[in-house]
Structure formats: C-alpha cells, structure tokens
Symmetry: C2
Subunit: 230 residues, 2 copies
C-alpha cells in the first residue's frame, strides 16, 4: 500500500548551504573508503565519527536532499554513493579550461583528484608567449585570444584561473564574455563577476595564514601544547 519512498527529494528547490555541500564531498570520499574496506552499510554515527562530525549533522545534511537511509540499518553504501555524486553534479564529465600555466597551473592539470572525479581539462591558455605552443599533458597551450572559440568547439562550461593576481580580473572578464558558467579562482583577489557566473575561490595563502594563527594561539584552544617535548 505504501508508495515507494526512498530517494524522495524534498528540498530541490533551494541551494544547499555552502557548508553542507562541502560535507557531502567528504561523505562521498569517506563512503568510498568504507566500501573499499568491504562494508555494505554505514550509520550516520560511523560516518560522522570518521570525519569528526556529529551523527545528527550527517543525517540532517543528507535529509536536505532526500531520504536515503533505512531506520535500524543505516545507509547502503552502494545506493548512497551514486546519489551523492548526482547531487554534487559529478555523475558526468565536466570539460574544463585551465588559464595560467605557471607552477600552480601545471600542478592542477596533473592533479589526480580532479581526474578521478570526472573533471577533464580540454583547453590550456596562457598569455605568456614563452608558454603558448608548448604541450602539457598532450594539450597545446593557446593564447587567451583563442578562449572564445575553444569554449564553443570543446563545450567548456568551467574554467580554472591560476594567473597572477594582477591579471586575474581581466582574464575573468574574458571568461565571462565567452559564456563560461563557473570559475575556480586561485588568484588572491576578489573578482568582480555578474551574478549568473558561479565562483569558488581557493586562496592558498589564507589557509597557511590560518594555520600560523592557530599554532601561535594554540594555548587558547584548550589543547595545551605539551610542556615538554622529547
């Protein structure tokens, strides 16, 4: 008599909070760890413990997107994994442009974590004439002037920007003009973009500065550094 209930999506009418989406990525990764260990199901308590999170938070995060668990059992890993991939939008291949082939850019090009999640770089762009024409990972570096045609030809929807801070806004303007929908920005500058273009900033210095802050103030965190080391 009961209608098939699992997988209902109660809340697909609003964007999940940033924090929730970040944790969904963590859940997905941890789920794969449990799966490799041969587990078939996982409880919110177990998943949370592995990531240092509260069990209620795990359930609430997942409940934002639908009902995926079984009371008394937990979550079936082989069911939940593809659901989370679909939620994040990584149940398919994303074709990316990489703009800026300095040290960081080339490292991003090779970064295994991107490839494993279905992200593919299909165009490399750099305005330094010493770089254009070079081939990295089988792809030629093109001038940024070629961006517009690459976007159309190669069906590119997102771009990674790893150019110096001074160049980033100008590059972003061109990216926007090409109709690219999302930017992952590694330049340490606040980019000005129209609201329809999505942006995520990754600022490496901020993270290291935060670490310096925490180390310097470790005595305030209730975690006394051991008085005697060694």
């Amino acid at each position: 008599m009961r209608v098939h209930r699992r997988g209902r999506e109660p809340s697909n009418d609003k964007l999940a909070p940033k924090a929730v989406v970040g944790r969904v990525s963590l859940y997905l990764r941890q789920l794969e760890v449990f799966q490799r260990q041969g587990q078939a199901t996982v409880s919110s308590n177990q998943l949370g413990a592995a990531l240092g999170l509260n069990d209620a938070q795990v359930r609430k995060d997942l409940a934002f997107f639908g009902q995926f668990g079984c009371p008394g059992i937990g979550y079936r890993i082989d069911e939940l994994t593809p659901v989370l991939r679909r939620i994040l939008g990584i149940d398919r291949t994303w074709r990316l442009a990489l703009i800026g082939l300095g040290n960081l850019g080339r490292a991003l090009l090779q970064y295994r974590g991107f490839r494993d999640q279905g992200f593919r770089f299909v165009a490399l762009l750099d305005n330094d004439p010493r770089k254009t024409g070079k081939v990295y990972d089988g792809l030629p570096v093109q001038s940024i002037d070629d961006l517009a045609s690459a976007v159309v030809t190669l069906d590119i929807r997102m771009a990674l920007i790893s150019v110096p801070a001074e160049a980033a806004q100008a590059v972003a303007d061109r990216v926007v003009a090409c109709g690219i929908q999302g930017i992952l920005n590694f330049a340490p500058v606040a980019l000005n973009l129209p609201p329809q273009v999505q942006i995520v900033d990754v600022d490496l210095s901020i993270h290291l500065e935060h670490l310096a802050y925490k180390v310097q103030n470790a005595h305030l965190s209730g975690n006394e550094p051991s008085a005697e080391v060694g």
Copy 2:
C-alpha cells in the same frame, strides 16, 4: 585625562572563529590594495564593499581583537596593516618543511603568496628514491627519515603535506612525533592527530566539486543564467 585607548585587545583570551580569521586575511590583502592606491584611511563600509561583506561585519571582526579605528575617520591603513599581520602571526618568518614533492608539492614550494607573507621552506622531504637527492629551489630533497633531525636543526614548526592520500596518515604520524606544531594538509583524507597539533585541510577536489554543484544548480540561486548568450 583619558587613557590611551587605541589598540586595546579585549578578547585575546579566546580563539577567533575560523570565519573571522579567514576574513582578517582578506582585510589585510585588501588593505594593501588600498595602500598601493595611495589611500591613508579606509572605512569599514569601503573595506566591506571591496570584499562583498557587510560593514558591521568588518567592524565586528576587527573589534574581536581590539579597537583600531577612529570614529568619523575610519581605520588608518598604515596602523591597521601591521596589527593584522601580528594578529595572524605573520609578523615574522615561519620555517616550513614540505613533505611530498610531486607536481603539487613543487608548485607549493614556488608559490609566491607564501613567500610574500614570510613563509620559508627550509626542508624538503620525500620517500620516493627517485626524488631524494634532487635539488629544488636550492634545497636538497631528503628522505623522510631525516625529518626529525631537520626539525631540530632548522627550527621547523609547521609542515605542508602533499603526499598521496594513502601515505598521508603515516607521514602525519612522523610529523607529530617530531614535535611539529601545525600541518597544512593537501591530502584528501581526514588525518588523525593529537589535539595539540593544529591542522588546516586544503582539499582541492572539494572546491571544484562545489563549483560543479553551483553551476549545475545555478537556476536555484536566484541568478538565472541569461536565457540567451550571444
């Protein structure tokens, strides 16, 4: 009659929230932009606008650490800049170990943003025998077995970990055993550490996944992608 008041530090008895510390880094960076433009003072409104933040939030963040502004005037840039640097703990040089010299590790070694903020790599470590002995940026790559002595000799307090996920926990254990106080972790895995060791995780895949989520769900964000492009 009034006691010198500016620079009082009302709240140096608890750790600032993560979000506040992150914004302090942004303020510092933006302050330097304004300074280069020749400005002497900046208001919370101006600073916030440049970063997409509310003016009250700017004032409240700064007030967490003390009273640094002048009513009617704003904040004097040349006074506030060193204060923020001291708050973040970057008013001095930090000596770092870099563990893992793959593509990402080598990019981090060269990353200008770290150098500019007074971070210095003084030891490079990698367990791949094809890498040990090589010299990057004037520093020889050593075996991880040499970590303990390097930490003591070179006065290293923080380490960047850019090794594959599978190796990260073992590396972290050795780092902890050496008495290092903080870890910037680029491996996509939740590390298990004693509470006195500070950690900041940087997970590049999570950021790109978040961007994919936002692009896929742009229609929910109230920022309709333009119906017609071109």
